[in-house]
Structures are given as structure tokens and as C-alpha cells.
Symmetry: C2
Subunit: 282 residues, 2 copies
């Protein structure tokens, strides 16, 4: 990695050190449950990584793995059990769920206090309006942390965001608006994205189109947050032409090793915070 | 009004005609309760207008007026009574509430099914993600209706929005993103709004700064939705220089008589829809 690469693994490492310290001083071991409904290989890989990091920082990790034909009602009943279980502090429902399951309804069933993904409507809406009593979704929280870590101020900055996913792109858009940035939300129907990327101080991308953002589409000072990953010829890459953009001196997150480590770190941080709050209520 | 003015009163009139027709064919009279906590003159005026229109379309309107020193707990208990009352279909909590009341908590206490303002986190989040099973906040719903009524397509359009209020500006921003528009959210820290207004197909404003948008800041084709109103020397006006912009041939909503009539009309429409859904559940 060269000097203008944002090292997500290192930034996440600092967060893990803080989490570990704090957990050692607690009287309880935080516990995280992952609900998985099918054997989607990508989901299993994500779960593996979350388990590894949970156990590294002494968070108890339990996988609840259900058959693909579990009904909506049965799954909701399982979520209710998790909600009322006194020794479970955090729960993630690994997405996507099978088509016959209404995901929003399942996520809404989970107690907002245990929703460490920050996907419950109450937590999402609090994120949108800047009410910090809720749980912020992990990827947007991680990206905001990158800005803080790198001393990048957001007020008055021009941000182009090429990402309008409901559960991640939209809360991030609103966090940036709350921070005083002028935010342009582009999509596949935007006639000419260069109009916005050329002029942006910060560009956030998560489209799944490798090579979408080229060095000639941005200013020399632009900061690039490349979130999504694709696999091309067995190699993992993001949406930005990392090599040429990096060569030009732009600050950029690599893929892999950029945003994703922070997503997982903030999942653990949310679990720690949830366990502290629930312990206080007891 | 000249030919390029968007006549909100007329558009709202068509909605009321539909509502009235539908209510006449129902077996119940929809009922709307307004919760008011103090004697703020602006709030009283808003309530008066809502009452007038409710009664015009045969919606029963009841004002529940509480003393300014009502406690959070007492107010929540009143909301619970409304939630469980079988003959109340819709409820609005007139904002602002006094400082000692946590507004978000009160709105979250209200049943999402009776939340005809669309301010409950569940309804707001459904609006953000484009899930149409919830209640859309009335002003954003009214503005989206203006676009439909005037045959203004949004996909691929450039929209500049000068409005980041939590309960109204943000849901509208997300509705526009969902409709495929490229949306720029500007704020008071945006270094140069002309950069965005000059290039926009549509500009939505609600800042409370009369004269903020001048004719020389926009293209000849731009459509202006002017939402907020100020009172200058006893005269009500919006943020846009209506006279000069209108003279240039731009399509524009007037203030008054533009967006606000649609806000009230959509409150009645939400009340009708709520009463139909609750009647079905009985």
C-alpha cells in the first residue's frame, strides 16, 4: 500500500483495541447471535469473518442456522425468543433472506436495542435525523469514522454518492447531509456522472461496476471511498480504477482492505454498546 | 394567476372531490383527532384549516387540547387511548410540542396505522425505502402528486433541493431518489448554490429566506416548487422571486396557494386510507 491509501485494516485494528480494553473491564461478556436462513456461500463467508472478529475481542458468538423452508411465523417466533433472552445482547439477521420471507417485517420484529446491524426502522430513522440514541448501520458508521480518523471535515464539502441502496447507501447519504455536506445522489439514470464526480471533494461508490470511476473523471484533490467489491478473474476489486487514481495522488480506500474491515469492527462496537445498555437496564 | 403557475388549490380540489366520493360510498365516517398541547397561534391556525377541510369532506374532526404543563407520561397515556379507541382512525400531533416533551418519543408512541401525518419512524423509513404499505408524510406526498398531475417525469432529472428538515425535506429527498432523479441536497453551508440551481431541471425550496432564488440563478426550463412561507410586511411570500421567475416563463408553485393546499388534502387522503384499513381489520 502506498502513502495515499486509506488503510481500513489498520483503522479497524485501533477500534478492536479499544473494544477489547473496554470488554476486559466489564462484568459481563457481550454476546452476539447471527441468524442465518440458508447456505448461501457468500453469507457463510461473511458469518465466518464476523465470528472470527467477535471471538478475537472476547464477544461470545452463536450461529442460529435455520432450514431454507422456515416460515415467516416460525422465524418471527425465533426472533422473539432472542428479544427476550436476557443473555443475548446483539443479533444480526444475515441478508438476503429467502424470497418467501418478508425481510423488513423480520428486521422490524427484532428489538431495536439488540439490532446491532442498525437495520431496524427505528434505528435507521434515528440515523437519518441524526438522533444518536439509536444504532447506526455499520458500513455508514465505518465510513464516517474514516472521515474522522483522516481529519476530513465534511461541512461545506461537495460529496457525490453513487449508491442508493436502502439499508446502507441511504443512511450514509443522510449522515453526510447531517454533517453539513452538499450531497449529490447519483444513480444509473443520471445522464452524466462526470458532471458531479469532476467537481466533488469526496466520492463514495458502491455500484458493483469495476472501472466505473476513472482518474480522468475526478479532481486531483478528490477523496475516494470505494465500498462494494466485485470478483474479476478471481481477483477482488472495487468500482474505482485504484491503480491510476492512486498514482495521481488521490486519497482512496482500497478493495479489499478499505471499508469492509470497518463494517465488521462497527458491528462489534455496536454489540459492545448494546451489552452495556442492556446491563444498565437490569 | 398566469398560465405557468401551478395551481395547488385546484389540484387539491380534485383530490377532495375524489375523497368525498369515496367517503359517501363507505359504511363508516372517517374520524381524525388532532392533539394540540399549547396555544401557539400558528398551530391554532393550522388546526383550524385542517378542521375546515376535514368537515368539508365529511371526516369527523376532534380537537384534543392539553395544557402546556402536561407531562411526557400523561401525553403518552393520551396517545395510548387514541391508539386503542376503535372509532378513531387517524391522529395528528400538532408540532412543535413544548420543550419538556420528547416529540420523537410521542410520535413513536402513536400507532403507525393511525399516524396520518406519516411522521412515525416506521412510516418515515418505509417512505425512504419506497415501501408503499406505510403512510407517506403529507407535504412530500403532495409535492410528488404535483409532479404526477403536471406530467413531470422524474427519472434521469436533476433536482436541487434546498431543504434538509428531518420530517419533511428528508423523506422528499428520498422519494425523489427512489423515482430515479439525481438529487443534490444543499444547505446553508453549500459554498455556491447557483452551481446547482443553474443546472437543475427541478428546484425544491423550503428555507424561509424570501428572495433566495432569483430568476438569474436558474435555467429557462427549470420547474420551481416553493414550499415554505414567510410573512414580510404582512404579506405572505415564499423563497423564490415569484414575479420575475414567473415572468421568465418558468413553471412555479405560488406562495400561498401552491404546496400547502396539497399538504392538507393528503392529510385527509391518509385519514381516509387509514379508516379503510382499520375497517377491514375489524
Amino acid at each position: 500500500m502506498n502513502f495515499n491509501t486509506i488503510n481500513g485494516i489498520q483503522i479497524a485494528g485501533n477500534i478492536y483495541a479499544h473494544i477489547q480494553n473496554e470488554i476486559q473491564s466489564l462484568h459481563i461478556q457481550p454476546s452476539l447471535v447471527a441468524v442465518l436462513v440458508w447456505n448461501n456461500p457468500a453469507s457463510l463467508r461473511y458469518i465466518e469473518q464476523k465470528k472470527k472478529w467477535a471471538e478475537t475481542v472476547w464477544i461470545q458468538f452463536t450461529l442460529k442456522h435455520f432450514e431454507i423452508d422456515i416460515s415467516q411465523k416460525e422465524l418471527e417466533a425465533e426472533i422473539h425468543k432472542i428479544n427476550t433472552h436476557p443473555d443475548i445482547h446483539g443479533c444480526i439477521v444475515q441478508l438476503p433472506l429467502p424470497n418467501h420471507i418478508d425481510s423488513l417485517s423480520i428486521i422490524s420484529t427484532l428489538s431495536p436495542k439488540k439490532d446491532v446491524d442498525g437495520f431496524h426502522p427505528e434505528n435507521q430513522w434515528k440515523t437519518v435525523i441524526g438522533d444518536d440514541s439509536g444504532m447506526i448501520p455499520c458500513t455508514p458508521a465505518g465510513i464516517m469514522h474514516i472521515f474522522a480518523d483522516q481529519n476530513i471535515s465534511l461541512s461545506g464539502k461537495k460529496v457525490a454518492i453513487l449508491w442508493r441502496s436502502n439499508i446502507v447507501g441511504k443512511p450514509l447519504t443522510n449522515l453526510l447531509i447531517n454533517a453539513g455536506a452538499t450531497v449529490v445522489s447519483c444513480n444509473s439514470q443520471t445522464p452524466d456522472i462526470t458532471l458531479y464526480t469532476k467537481d466533488a471533494d469526496i466520492i463514495v461508490l458502491a455500484t458493483g461496476n469495476p472501472g466505473l470511476l476513472r482518474a480522468d473523471m475526478i479532481s486531483k484533490e478528490a477523496i475516494i471511498i470505494d465500498v462494494w467489491f466485485s470478483v474479476i478473474n478471481g481477483k477482488i476489486c472495487g468500482d474505482a480504477d485504484f491503480e491510476n487514481i492512486s498514482k495521481n495522488g488521490n486519497l482512496i480506500t482500497p478493495v479489499p482492505g478499505g471499508v469492509w474491515p470497518l463494517t465488521v469492527a462497527f458491528l462489534m462496537k455496536n454489540t459492545l454498546e448494546a451489552s452495556k445498555k442492556l446491563a444498565e437496564e437490569k
